[in-house]
Each structure stands twice: as structure tokens, then as C-alpha cells.
């Protein structure tokens, strides 16, 4: 991709976004829309600047929960997938369990975890994120481990390679692009889950709590400012994992 086309691909969404915000501002001002319905972008920006330190603090709290959840879910998902790939019977046992896990609205587990670990502890919120991340990590890793070319399988057999060697030298390196795609999907899920989990009570100090308490206190513009903080936090998580994925892709194709 050359510099010109990079600029174009960046420019188009920026222009669209700016136009949308300008239109939003125009409509709010023109029709004198009340802030509890929709605050103006300039109002949100002002509130964002005023509460910047509070938003930062809340983002760090939620972000840390999301990060710990992401790591636990990722490690667990990769590990279980490797075991399931090696032991076919285990995989067959896990299929319905993972399917069930995938359809549970995972944040609904938050009150249960709060009962188990106490609502004041962050453990429950981290676990909610971890469970949410586990599913795409497990499925993507397992899929990646199975993308083995027959010629490579023949080769490892001809070398009389052990299962451990085949895993380490062939299957796991081959699955890495799929693992990173899983991580990219999981990163957004981790942030959303950690944030929503805060809605279910407990003296949390994260973004979710700040949004609900601001809204409850009729500080709608401030609530929106915290939502903007949540968007930025999610973008950071997604951006970092997406960059990791594309770096590995470029590194691998050797260009």
C-alpha cells in the first residue's frame, strides 16, 4: 500500500465522521434538544475535558479488569484447544459445553460471581471477561491447529516425530494467525464484558459504574463523556490486537 492510498483509506472515514458530528451538533443546536435526550458533541467534549482525570481513572480500572480477563481467557482457551486437539474424545465432550457457553449472555453470570467472590472484589468482573474471551479463543485456536497440510503431516510422520514435537514445531506455529484473530475478537469482548459487569452492582470504580451513576444523577452529558471513554478504551484494545495480527501476518509472509 503506498502513502497516497493509505491517506485515502484514512481520510474517507475521518471526513465521514467529522461530517456526522457536525450534523449532530447542528441538529442539537437548531432544535434545542434537551441534554437528557441527546447532548451536543461540543457539550460531551467539554464534559470529557472537565472529567478527564475521572474518566482516565475509570478507564484504567475497567481496562485492567478487561486485560486480566483477556489474558486468563486467552491462555485457558489456547491451552484447552491444544489438549482437545490432541485428545479427540475430549473435543467431542467439549463441543456441546462450548456451544452452551457461547449462547449464555455471559454478563448474566456477573451476579453469580459476585455472590461467590463478593461484589467488592474485582475477581467477578475479571472472570466475566475471561469467560467471554475463552469461547472465541478456544474455537479459533482449535480451527488453527486443524489447518495442517497433508504434506506436512506426512513429513512429520516420516521423521517419526513425537506428538509433542509435532505440536511444538508444526501445529502451534501454524495456528498462531488464528490465535491472533481470536485475540482480536476477544479483546473487544473483554472490554464490553468487564464494563457491563459493573452494571450489576458492587462498589466498582470503572466506566460502567460511572456511566450508570452519572445518568442516575441526571448528569447526562457526563454519562456520555464516560461512554466516549469506553469507546476509546475498546479502540485501544482492538487496535493493539489488530496490529499484533497484521504484524504477524507480514512477518510470516516474509515481506
Amino acid at each position: 500500500m503506498n502513502a497516497g492510498s493509505t491517506a485515502r483509506t484514512l481520510l474517507a472515514p475521518v471526513v465521514l465522521g467529522a461530517a456526522a458530528i457536525a450534523l449532530w451538533q447542528l441538529l442539537v443546536v437548531a432544535f434545542q434538544v434537551e441534554p437528557f435526550l441527546v447532548p451536543s458533541p461540543s457539550g460531551i467534549a467539554g464534559a470529557f475535558a472537565d472529567t478527564a482525570s475521572g474518566i482516565m481513572e475509570a478507564s484504567l480500572a475497567t481496562g485492567l479488569n478487561a486485560l486480566i480477563g483477556l489474558l486468563i481467557g486467552a491462555v485457558l482457551g489456547i491451552f484447552v484447544a491444544i489438549i482437545a486437539n490432541a485428545l479427540t474424545f475430549l473435543d467431542r465432550m467439549l463441543v456441546p459445553l462450548v456451544a452452551a457457553l457461547a449462547v449464555i449472555p455471559i454478563v448474566a453470570l456477573a451476579p453469580i460471581f459476585y455472590a461467590m467472590f463478593g461484589a467488592a472484589a474485582e475477581t467477578g468482573r475479571q472472570l466475566v471477561a475471561a469467560v467471554a474471551v475463552f469461547v472465541p479463543m478456544y474455537l479459533n485456536t482449535l480451527h488453527g491447529l486443524r489447518q495442517v497440510e497433508p504434506v506436512h503431516r506426512d513429513l512429520m510422520r516420516s521423521y517419526a516425530a513425537t506428538k509433542e514435537q509435532t505440536n511444538r514445531m508444526l501445529l502451534i506455529p501454524g495456528a498462531i494467525p488464528y490465535v491472533l484473530t481470536g485475540l482480536k475478537i476477544g479483546s473487544s469482548l473483554a472490554v464490553i464484558s468487564a464494563l457491563i459487569a459493573e452494571y450489576f452492582g458492587g462498589p466498582a470504580k470503572g466506566l460502567g459504574r460511572a456511566i450508570t451513576s452519572s445518568a442516575a444523577a441526571s448528569n447526562y452529558t457526563v454519562a456520555w463523556a464516560y461512554v466516549l471513554g469506553a469507546v476509546l478504551l475498546g479502540t485501544v484494545f482492538y487496535g493493539v490486537t489488530a496490529a499484533l495480527e497484521s504484524f504477524s501476518h507480514r512477518h510470516r509472509s516474509g515481506t
Partner: protein, 268 residues
Amino acid sequence: MTAKPVAVTVTNVDKIFRSRKGAEVHALSDVSLEVAAGEFISLIGPSGCGKSTLMRLVADLDGITSGEITVFGKTPEKARKDQDYGIAFQQAGLLPWRSVRANIELPLEIHGWEPRDRKERSDELLELIGLADFADHKPDQLSGGMKQRVAIARSLAERPRLLLMDEPFGALDEITREHMQNELVALCQETGAAVIFVTHSIPEAVFLSDRVVVMSPRPGRITEVIDLDFSSRDEELREDAAFYEGVTAVRNALHGGETAGARGVENR
């Protein structure tokens, strides 16, 4: 029969593939063959004649249905576990995340060679295939011919006494292919390894082989074995009358009575 020690014996081997639905494919029927140490044997025949299957049985990549195969006097399984053969396929089958050097060293790494010995051996092999300057490149940066050279270097890594090659030049263009054939001849003279070479190119089989084993399909069986005795294998041989006689002999054997059976064989 040759007085040389024997590398591979295949005695009355049958191979039947059963699909899950119970359908049977008789891939090989009553196949017997003996390969002497250091001998170059080509298996040639139309698609479905079982030439690749026969090679895979010797490599213990598939199991035989009945009959017996020995590799240096052992079962194919024992020979595989003892690393008595090197193998190369039509696809180079390099691992894309490993450098050229690391790909060549893969079997050495699996078999617990020390890093220093691995490097020494891969240096030799890179020199041998003329890719020393590409040691740190990734496979995606190489041409098809270069990838195949790396795959062949990898098959030679542990100095096997037997090389199994399943259409290793099948995906290459004609010019690269002749060049690779010349290199393979030189390699074999150097290493003294026996070779079982699967191909569907008549000139390729004639140019490379001490004996060409002609096979026919449904069920796969050996129809004729043609001895070739060239004093030297170089570029001049390709223009030699003896070479054309060999080509004609193999072609006649392939067409032998049932012309339909020879479909799918390339006459290039």
C-alpha cells in the same frame, strides 16, 4: 539380480483402500520389486496406477494390506523410526514460518542434533544446492525451483541410504526441471543413495534411472521393468540415440496392448 546389497524388497504386495462407505479401491495388486543399494529406480504410469501408493508403503506412510516389504532388511515401520530414508514430495512442504536454513535443519532438530552440528550440516547442504545466500530467507521469497531444492536438501540432511521422491519436479517448468534432474544425478553420484522416484514423465524417468518400472492401473500392477545402461548422464545424453531408444522402449511398454491405459502420461 544384482550382486549388490539390497535396499528395498517388495514381495507380492496388495493394497486395498476402503472408504468409510465400504467401497474398495484395489490400489496395488501382487506387486514385487527389488531395489539394490545405490540403484535409481523410477516408477512410471498413468494416474491411478498406484506408483505413489507403492512409494508411500515403502515409507510407512500407509500400511500394506497383504504381502511383505523390507527396507534394509527391516520392516518399513522400523526403517522409518530408524530414519533410514529421506523423502521429498511434489509440494516442497516447507514450513512458511521457518527460514530456509531452519527448514533444512527440521529433521536434525527433531532427532536431537546439537545446534553446532546442525549448522555445520545445513551449511554443507546450502552449499550443495547453491542457496547459501538464501539461508535466512523465508520460503515465500523463493521460486518454485528453489523451494524444491530446499526440500531435497532437507531429504538429504541425515545422509540417508534411500531417497523416496514423489514427483518432486512435477510442479516445475521444463527448463528448471531439466536443471534439477542434472543436479539430482550429481547428488546421487555423490551420496550413493538408492532412489525410488515417482514420475509421469517418460524422458525424466529414462534420463535418471537405472531401471524404469512401468505400471498400469485398475488394479495397480507392474507391467514391465526396463533396464537402462548409460555410461554417463549429462546434457549430451539428452541428445543421444540410446536415450531415444530408452524413451521409445518405455513408451511402448506404457502403451503395451491397451492404449487407453497410457492416458495421462506426459510425453515430454
